[in-house]
Symmetry: C2
Subunit: 883 residues, 2 copies
């Protein structure tokens, strides 16, 4: 009994330790002390010259909220004790007449949330202390400048007076003194400003500015706690998917001053170049300044190399420190430092943010330097960031003047002349680069899209037709750009906000990675897939278990995919082959056929086209599997919509336009997504499946005879009930046997199905009896499982994200709880019946790192994604193993 | 060891017993001997005068197919042995010179499949036997007539010569003889016909007619086996949902002849009246005739009472037999008998088919007679058949001349003048009965539908708007009538097939139970809910566990539902309240509002309407729960479509028609089923939910004060993620609290959700944390789980049913494997988290007997269905317990 009580008390004591002095912590205590606090503690124990201080834990912040925004019991006492320790350590005291203690109060969560939460500097100053400072430094201007900076920061952050109100007070004095810059104000001006600031605070808040440093401190701690849940911080956490944190820690640290004359200064430095990744000391500093001056950009900071001349001793010390802590933290460090009267203080260190390019180089270099192992290196690069490396970018130097912003639908950059129709794109693209600008795109625009540099649409989300097709083609696309109004008839692109009208053949530039639109023709830079990139990819391949395939419909895309490391085609959408020139005509003839005989005639015209496509694709993927999905979309997608086109088609097919419109009307569906498509087409018109299988198998047979290693996998789409697969399998086998007999050659091929209808996942055991592979079509599976039409989600998804109903667009990041459960059920049921069933995913999620990780855990054999996302998937798959 | 071998041998012997003589079987051996065989055996053991014979088992038929359509080993020997037994029993032999054996060969599966499979009579006759017959009967005409009948039947059924070819041969002779009727042909004519028949068979089949009775028998057995899988039989089994049978048995039975003169005859009789159910001997007979003559309808059979005069001894014997076997089989019997030269033979008995009316009366009577118990009585009535009793029917005497056939979308009958628009329906209905005829209906037609007698549409399936709404209103509807072309503008209804054009104000009659359309005004008969019906319903209520609720939107429907025994409203679709007069205007104002303020203003106009609806509904359902679903359909459904209506609305709301069209365009969705609807509306426009909850709670509070017992259950539609429910729950609770505070009264109400999105079922455990009840919306759940748009399914479902991919329309009969799995998962997950969670179903399946049985097994608390299906559900729920 006694033991238990004692144990509980111990726990309580431990639980009640709310404050850690810097010498009590270490870098592993990040969850408790926040990133900044843990690293300050670690540096302290490394004997790096860190100004003394202590950290209030993140759990205390949690307690603060749990108790209804009240300080937990005992916090004040623990802060008092640590203040005492700090005072004795640096021999300074709050309100001391000779050596007054000034501190900074900074937020710092376990995950970095730069600039999202509050900071107060110079805390401890008041009317009395400012006099002591003057006496001590003999620098009245410095003392009053410090004082007014503190009141301004405290008044704004803690007491809630608008920043703008303080700025007005400064302006008033400057006007009175007829000066232009803050620096031109004298010590007395600043003294007057202090008085005016206090009056302002009293007027706005009905409360006096508190002179007692201890009260200043409590108010500041509370303000930092409060800033954990300010709207900016909440939004930042949502956007960056930061979850499960307790709150922010609060770091209270003795102030040092970079603005105490020309032997003082402040700076920021990186242990390596964060932009290029080069192992070269990199940074900026400014003498006689405080941190905010470096950031504010009024004075131009100097390159860190300059410090070597200015203060060789400090420079040498800084280099030694950065070497020491980089080695210690085993990652590129981003440090803040201050020089106070010739003495160096390091205020902060953290793992530095870096460009994708930098990340790759640093990771590879550090392995070569034996600082980290390959696993760590692989975990250091965010897969998503690789996108930057694989596409053209706007030259950073040239980038200026965004005229509109839409969704970053497909990464890269594009420059070209504006065209408003697919036909016009084809014409103009013969001589000039074009950018296709449309309200929204449809399958008819496919050719026009393929000849354009980029696509800009006013409507449609991240998974609209334009976005999906563009990503597939590796083409830059900005979609859903609500700032613009496109008038295809008048051939104008209007940006009301900017009072701007662009016309056909005007130049435009797109940044698909950021969703930005620029006027005119900006310079682009080519992607640079350095040796480091391919080294990192090879390492990823060593570790990953998932195979990576690509979604590619034509030989050109297949080639790109293979170059990026794809190990097969996971999805070839045969319908994309039907939109080109004569093909669409034959396709339309097929659709408009009166009966099976006419339909077969039209299909016979399509056969050679399909066959030649497959010949190209199989050749390109020699030795690798190619999954071919049979015709999927509803037939009405292939019919012309416009009056003019209908008339032309009617003339060509020798029918009346009314007939075409009648057929169109008959084919119209209320919910085409849930209509007559997928295997439902093949079941009602077996002759379509027959033609497609004939084309696939003839190509495969011919190439097999030419010693090309062909591995076709024929995929039946939209199966929901095993009987559908049985029906189509009979057709496939029958035709395949016929063709192989004709060519007198045997081709090993598989027959499998998409799992994209919830019912298919639910009855995967029944389906696995017939299917040699499952490919999860998570786009459609998400649509049906969630009941979200991808094309209509724009009407409510923004609200859903804002109200935290969904954290992310479920079409971008797989909904692991709902859709994921179906995927896991189907895998389990499928493997139970057919042990060696091949399992893959070919939805848009196949290239999204979090979803790739899910696929790894679910035990899939492969993921398939757009060619340009193959490297991302390779890295994500490796990380999934290493996590 | 020895034991095992012996055991196995025993099994083998048992397994190999392929033939049972009638004295070896009993009625419990139905699976093995088929219904007919088992009953013949049973009658034999009851000493009913059944002609001797034997039965080849259904398993033998299965073996026949398993072995590639070959007789299993040993079958011939067993048949031989039984023939021998038969011959010795009746002292007749195949080919015997004095007493030749003639037999019938009849099919007979475990389930009755009347007329679907083959029968051969008079087998054993040939050129020699016919002479013996002549000698024996001294009736040459009878002998040759028997012979030619056999050749004709055998030639057609066994040898595959067209029936028509035989008829031509008869015609030739009749022409030659210049006679009109078969009966006018002489013995010699028939003899000539026999010769001609044989020549015909040889010519068509290149095979001779076999003279050997034993060969005739084998060929006939094989033909009967073969008929098990003829297309008619397969279709019959699919339509009647007959599954799991091994095949057909074959009954070989000594022939008796009803056509051996005026002391012979044949007949069919029922132990009770199958039409009215009256306990009165009922039947028909014809002297000097064979069974086919009774059926053929050339001679008019006489009522069975006539036999009492004609042959009192036989009549008395027949009555005694029918009494005996009805008592023995404990069900109304349908018997076939033959009198051969004054001696009675019973050829068959089976449970008789009966009308719904008859079924109810017989079931109740037999309980009163203590012949069966209540449980048995309840199982004797097919729930679906009750539909006939609840609606008006076309007077059977008046029923003639179907002009078109569509889907039997909503039962009952309707007579009225044709109108082509809802507006016109309203006008004309003031003075005359109308039938609304449209290509398809939309929510705007609601009022027009409600004033019509019935609805006829050219498009749309069993679950189209017209069908669902009509069933809800208990109104007759024929939907998807592809025979008709409706021109709403020209006000014509064209039936091309019949070369018929009907105009506005022409009379038309519909049979919604059969999907038939008649020209003109046919007489109708009112439903007659006799005392027996309500007795049966009370018995059902004693046994069933499921509660039965109704889907009803307005007080009038609620009243009907309560009268039919509904124990609550399971689904009140609030949107149906918005289509009437001023309401639709306010609704449209709300939709066209520019901002929240305008929207709130329009909602305030809707509030009193909603409130008065709820007042009526709650009053009607005093003491019973009422589940109210918040607004569900996408807003564009409420906007006018036609130019004229748009112009009118624009004028009224003082906006431009362009503005309305623009809003319409903005609201347009590619897949409205998966779009901005359900709780998604309430989340983006919380003010809509607020208004609805205010209306519900104000009505509830007012009535509570008036001592009405109000039990509202507020249901949030289309939830897929618990966060959606949390969001709406906050609004509901907030407003409910406000209203209850205002009225100073407490109303017990529940908050729950539809489970209609697959994700909701998959995450039902999470949702159950917040939901007090689940109501499975199996319509939408089926749409999303199967990926079938209800509105578009017509394009492929017919093919799917034909190709046996689905056995039934999954919107009519719940897909238990797929959708059912989700329902079961959700029940389990829901109950795990919240033990007392209320579970119900409110989809169209709630009134379908098989689906009701599923709901019982899944452990739901209630089903909810259209008011007119409540009795069906009550009976089905009782049967689910008893099965």
């Amino acid at each position: 009994m006694f033991h238990r009580v004692k144990g509980m008390m111990k726990n309580n004591v431990k639980k009640n330790k709310m404050v850690y002095f810097f010498d009590e912590g270490k870098k592993e205590m990040r969850e408790l002390l926040g990133g900044k606090g843990a690293n300050l503690a670690e540096m302290t124990s490394l004997n790096v010259p860190v100004p003394s201080g202590f950290t209030i834990t993140t759990e205390t912040c949690d307690q603060y909220y749990v108790q209804g925004k009240k300080f937990p019991k005992g916090l004040k006492e623990q802060v008092d004790a640590n203040i005492k320790k700090l005072e004795s350590k640096i021999n300074a005291k709050f309100n001391d007449k000779t050596n007054p203690l000034l501190v900074s109060v900074r937020s710092g969560a376990a995950n970095s949330m730069p600039g999202m939460m509050d900071t107060i500097l110079n805390l401890g100053i008041n009317d009395q202390v400012v006099q002591t400072l003057i006496n001590k430094t003999q620098n009245k201007r410095f003392a009053y400048d410090t004082y007014r900076r503190f009141i301004q920061m405290f008044g704004n952050v803690v007491m809630g007076v608008e920043h703008h109100d303080f700025e007005q007070e400064i302006q008033k004095i400057k006007d009175k003194r007829k000066v232009h810059y803050d620096t031109e104000l004298t010590a007395d001006d600043l003294k007057e400003l202090v008085k005016n600031y206090k009056t302002l605070i009293l007027k706005v808040t009905k409360k006096s500015f508190p002179e007692d440093p201890r009260i200043q401190l409590d108010m500041s701690i509370e303000a930092v706690f409060g800033s954990w849940n300010n709207p900016r911080a909440i939004a930042y956490r949502r956007l960056n998917d930061i979850k499960g944190l307790k709150g922010t820690a609060v770091n209270i640290q003795a102030m040092v001053f970079g603005n105490m004359g020309e032997s003082s200064g402040t700076g920021v430095c990186f242990s390596r170049n964060p932009s290029t990744g080069e192992n070269k000391f990199y940074g900026e500093y400014l003498m006689n300044s405080q941190g905010e001056d470096v950031v504010a950009g009024i004075r131009t900071p100097k390159h860190i190399e300059g410090l070597e001349k200015q203060n060789p001793k400090v420079y040498k010390q800084l280099v030694a420190i950065k070497n020491k802590i980089e080695k210690h933290f085993k990652d590129m460090q981003d440090m803040e430092f201050t020089i106070q009267e010739g003495k160096l203080h390091v205020l902060q260190t953290r793992n530095g943010k870096r460009t994708a390019h930098g990340a790759v180089k640093i990771a590879v270099d550090m392995v070569n330097e034996k600082l980290i192992d390959k696993k760590t290196a692989l975990l250091r690069v965010a897969p998503e960031s690789l996108d930057q490396l694989l596409h053209k970018q706007i030259d950073p130097k040239a980038k200026t003047g965004v005229i509109a912003t839409g969704l970053p639908a497909s990464p890269g950059a594009a420059v070209g002349r504006i065209v408003f129709t697919a036909e016009r794109a084809e014409e103009v693209a013969k001589n000039e680069k074009v950018v296709l600008v449309r309200t929204e795109t449809s399958p008819e625009d496919l050719i026009g899209m393929s000849v354009s540099q980029g696509i800009l649409t006013a409507r449609g989300g991240m998974t609209s037709h334009a976005a999906v097709v563009a990503r597939g083609m590796g083409k830059c696309c900005v979609s859903g750009c609500q700032d613009i109004v496109v008038d295809e008839k008048a051939k104008t692109l209007t940006i009301k906000k900017k009072n701007l009208v662009l016309k056909e053949m005007d130049y435009i530039t797109l940044d698909g990675s950021l969703g930005q639109v620029f006027k005119g023709s900006l310079g682009l830079v080519e992607p640079n897939l350095s040796g480091d990139f391919s080294i990192l990819m090879e390492w990823a391949d060593e570790f990953r278990k998932l195979k990576i395939r690509a979604n590619a419909d034509i030989p050109r895309d297949a080639k790109v995919a293979r170059a990026f490391g794809a190990e097969g085609i996971g999805l070839c959408r045969t319908e994309h082959m039907f939109f080109d020139g004569d093909r669409i005509k034959a396709m339309r003839k097929m659709i408009l056929a009166n009966n099976e005989i006419e339909r077969r005639k039209a299909l016979a015209e399509l056969l050679p086209f399909q066959k030649s496509d497959f010949l190209g694709l199989f050749k390109e993927m020699n030795g690798l599997p190619v999954t071919i999905r049979l015709l999927d979309p509803p037939l009405h997608e292939f019919l012309p919509k416009g009056q003019k086109e209908i008339k032309e088609l009617a003339k060509e097919l020798k029918v009346t336009p009314e007939w075409i419109m009648q057929i169109s009307k008959n084919l119209h569906e209320v919910n085409p997504m849930l209509g007559h498509r997928g295997c439902r087409l093949g079941i009602t018109y077996p002759e379509i499946t027959e033609m497609q299988v004939q084309a696939i198998m003839e190509a495969a047979c011919e190439l097999t005879k030419q010693k090309v290693d062909v591995k076709p996998e024929i995929m039946v789409p939209l199966v929901g009930k095993v009987e559908e697969l049985i029906n189509q399998k009979e057709v496939i086998k029958r035709i395949a046997d016929q063709v192989m007999k004709k060519y007198n050659v045997k081709v090993d091929y598989l027959i499998g199905t998409m799992i994209e209808v919830p019912r298919a996942a639910l009855t995967a055991d029944e389906i696995a009896v017939e299917a040699e592979f499952f490919s999860f079509g998570t786009n459609d599976l998400t649509q049906m499982t969630l009941g979200f039409s991808r094309d209509d989600i724009g009407k409510f998804l923004p609200d859903y994200l804002k109200k935290n109903i969904y954290e992310k667009d479920p079409f971008a990041v797989l909904d692991q709880t709902g859709v994921g459960l179906l995927v896991r059920m189907a895998c389990e049921k499928g493997r139970k019946i057919r042990k060696d069933i091949k399992l893959g995913i070919c939805g848009e999620h196949g290239g999204e790192p979090k979803s790739v990780e899910f696929c790894h855990r679910a035990g899939l054999d492969y993921v398939s994604c757009s060619p340009y996302r193959v490297p991302i998937a390779r890295l994500a798959a490796a990380q999934a193993v290493l996590k």
